[in-house]
């Protein structure tokens, strides 16, 4: 795999793997993500894409291998420590704080940036007001980026689907991460919403200089925006390369569509 420039990669994954009982969900997974690189992670259902996300964010403890963020070893750390170090994610099935306001959803993710303690909170000292005010302003800025200005006081669960997805991105942004993991951000979106999402992803990447790892089933989207694509099948990496290389890779086509040539052709048409 080509390393991204001379600089140290933002994320470096070495032989990462996890075993559930007798099943190897992910097996010797290797990957490097350079600064502000946008990488796609694709594969058929059950290939282990979300498991990779769960491993990198500390939800699962890897049974083998290790991964590094900016050269710091991350395995064994708890999710919130990994988030503090700079990896944030969104979820395949949206996980917002549904009964809280939109702005509180974002503010919650900035919790670790606050320093006031119980005393300041209870006595509402100037420190409290200053920090909360700064927090509100920052949250509003982030909501503007994901085109949710003016919705600050809405209950998050009442937002339309596309906006909920964008709010989740804003919440991830609020953690001040270096690497953003997006788990099927365009799932269930209509073409216009997907287009808007694409814009946002591009904007975020250029504005914050962050790297993005994207799981997506919408192939046209993946092909359009990803610089490199990594294909998983049954927990193993079967191909890495540019979108063009991936589109012509026989193993990838096999994994997605099966081996029979006639079937491949007919399925390709319906796609």
């Amino acid at each position: 795999m080509e390393a991204a420039g001379k600089k140290e990669p933002v994320l470096k994954v070495q032989n990462l793997g996890i075993q559930f009982g007798g099943l190897k969900a992910v097996d010797s997974f290797n990957m490097e993500i350079g600064e502000s690189e946008l990488i796609g992670l694709i594969g058929p259902n059950g290939a282990g894409k979300t498991t990779v996300f769960n491993l990198i964010t500390g939800v699962y403890k890897p049974t083998e291998g290790s991964f590094y963020l900016n050269g710091h070893r991350m395995n064994g750390k708890k999710t919130h420590q990994i988030v503090d170090a700079g990896i944030a994610r969104t979820f395949q099935n949206i996980r917002l704080f549904k009964k809280m306001s939109v702005i509180d959803n974002v503010k919650t993710a900035m919790e670790s940036k606050l320093s006031y303690g119980l005393f300041h909170a209870v006595f509402r000292t100037p420190v409290y007001w200053k920090e909360e005010k700064a927090l509100t302003e920052r949250a509003k800025e982030l909501l503007k980026i994901v085109h949710l200005s003016g919705k600050e006081d809405y209950e998050a669960g009442n937002l339309p689907y596309g906006q909920q997805r964008r709010l989740e991105i804003a919440r991830a942004l609020a953690t001040d991460m270096k690497l953003l993991l997006l788990d099927e951000p365009a799932a269930g979106m209509n073409p216009t919403e997907t287009e808007e999402l694409l814009e946002i992803i591009h904007f975020i990447r250029n504005e914050f200089k962050i790297s993005v790892l994207l799981i997506e089933h919408d192939m046209s989207l993946v092909m359009k925006i990803c610089e490199r694509i990594l294909v998983l099948d049954f927990g193993t990496t079967i191909a890495i390369g540019t979108p063009k290389e991936i589109a012509n890779d026989t193993r990838v086509i096999e994994a997605y569509l099966g081996k029979d040539d006639e079937e491949v052709e007919s399925d390709a048409k319906s796609e």
Partner: protein, 344 residues
């Protein structure tokens, strides 16, 4: 914005003061005649029950976990404060100072117990946590039945009667205010996020266990303070007072008042703690009537009397003011009514 907040504090303080003056007026004018002392007693009972119920609401409403062992913390606070006030009597302290020190000691003792219980127990969620809290409260009760310092299963009596209604009222107001400010700060926001979705919360960089234990401890602290008032009101207590039924009673008061609403807890606790007394005329059917009230409320208001809605004096005044404006401008614009905004 800051100005508006300051004004709202003043309004709330005036509201609390007005209620206090109302009580003073009622009691000092001797409207109830011979029953004054008795009614004052009921009001004191309501005060400490409000503190206990509001603190339980931090766990149940704000954190979304069922704790069935709140009486355990109450008993730790009650015994600790009774022991401290017993040790400090005759040291020349004024009654109020002695009372406050005893309550603080009770709160701190209960808070420490909260940390010790919370760290192992809060790894669990839902039904499992509920069972662990029941077990914990039983352990405390059994301990108090065997320690000699707590009377060893016999009644611990001779505690100073320090719980005066007027003091208790202000202590209650202060406790509820602190809990309210806790909920409306980063801590409450975080804990609510954990309640909504703990996986997403940890993915947002929140140390879930830390905030859960912290909130549990704050709740235990105030339960302890409530217990302290209880001890200095009853002047005698026995560990079996704090059995499972007492925890269940507190929990039912939270649910009746409204899960997640502190003002609901105040109304629920005040209502339910005085209900058995109000129903004395039904004599032996008292507890039956009490149960019937519970059932009726649950059928017609499943979310509790207040739901998760908070009573706000400021909002009512604001609305009245707005209505005045709108009348001057000519009616409410229909789209303004349609706008549905979050309550949080």
């Amino acid at each position: 914005m800051e100005r508006r907040v300051k004004i709202s504090y003043v309004i709330n303080l005036l509201g609390v003061l007005a209620v206090f003056l109302l009580f003073v007026l009622l009691f000092e004018s001797r409207i109830f005649g011979a029953a004054t002392q008795y009614i004052k007693g009921i009001c004191t009972t309501a005060c400490y029950t409000i503190i206990m119920v509001a603190s339980l609401n931090l766990v149940v409403g704000c954190m979304g976990e069922f704790s069935l062992g709140h009486a355990g913390f109450v008993s730790v606070g009650a015994y600790a404060s009774a022991i401290v006030s017993g040790a400090l009597t005759g040291k020349g302290l004024p009654d109020l100072a002695l009372f406050l020190i005893a309550l603080l000691a009770g709160g701190i003792a209960a808070g420490i117990t909260g940390v010790l219980v919370g760290i192992p127990a809060l790894r669990l969620r839902g039904d499992y946590l509920a069972i662990v809290t029941v077990a914990f409260a039983e352990i405390i009760r059994v301990c108090f039945c065997n320690f000699s310092i707590t009377g060893g299963g016999k009644t611990m009596s001779g505690i100073l009667k320090l719980s005066d209604f007027y003091w208790c009222y202000w202590i209650m107001a202060a406790c509820v205010a602190v809990m309210y400010l806790y909920i409306r700060s980063r801590f409450g926001r975080t804990v609510k996020a954990i309640r909504e979705d703990y996986i997403a919360a940890s993915a947002a960089g929140i140390n879930v266990t830390y905030y859960k234990v912290l909130t549990f401890t704050v709740a235990a602290f105030f339960a302890g303070v409530g217990g302290g008032i209880y001890a200095h009101y009853m002047t005698a207590m026995i560990p079996t007072n704090f059995n499972f039924m007492y925890s269940a009673e507190l929990l039912s008061e939270v649910i009746i008042g409204g899960i997640g609403s502190l003002t609901g807890s105040i109304i629920g606790a005040a209502f339910l703690s005085s209900l058995p007394e109000m129903m004395r005329q039904f004599s032996q059917y008292r507890m039956l009537a009490y149960s019937v009230v519970l059932i009726i409320v649950m059928i017609f208001k499943p979310g509790g009397i207040f739901g998760n809605w908070e009573f706000s004096l400021v909002r009512i005044l604001h609305r009245a003011e707005k209505k005045g404006h709108e009348k001057a401008e000519g009616g409410v614009q229909p789209w303004k009514q349609l706008e549905r905004k979050s309550r949080y």
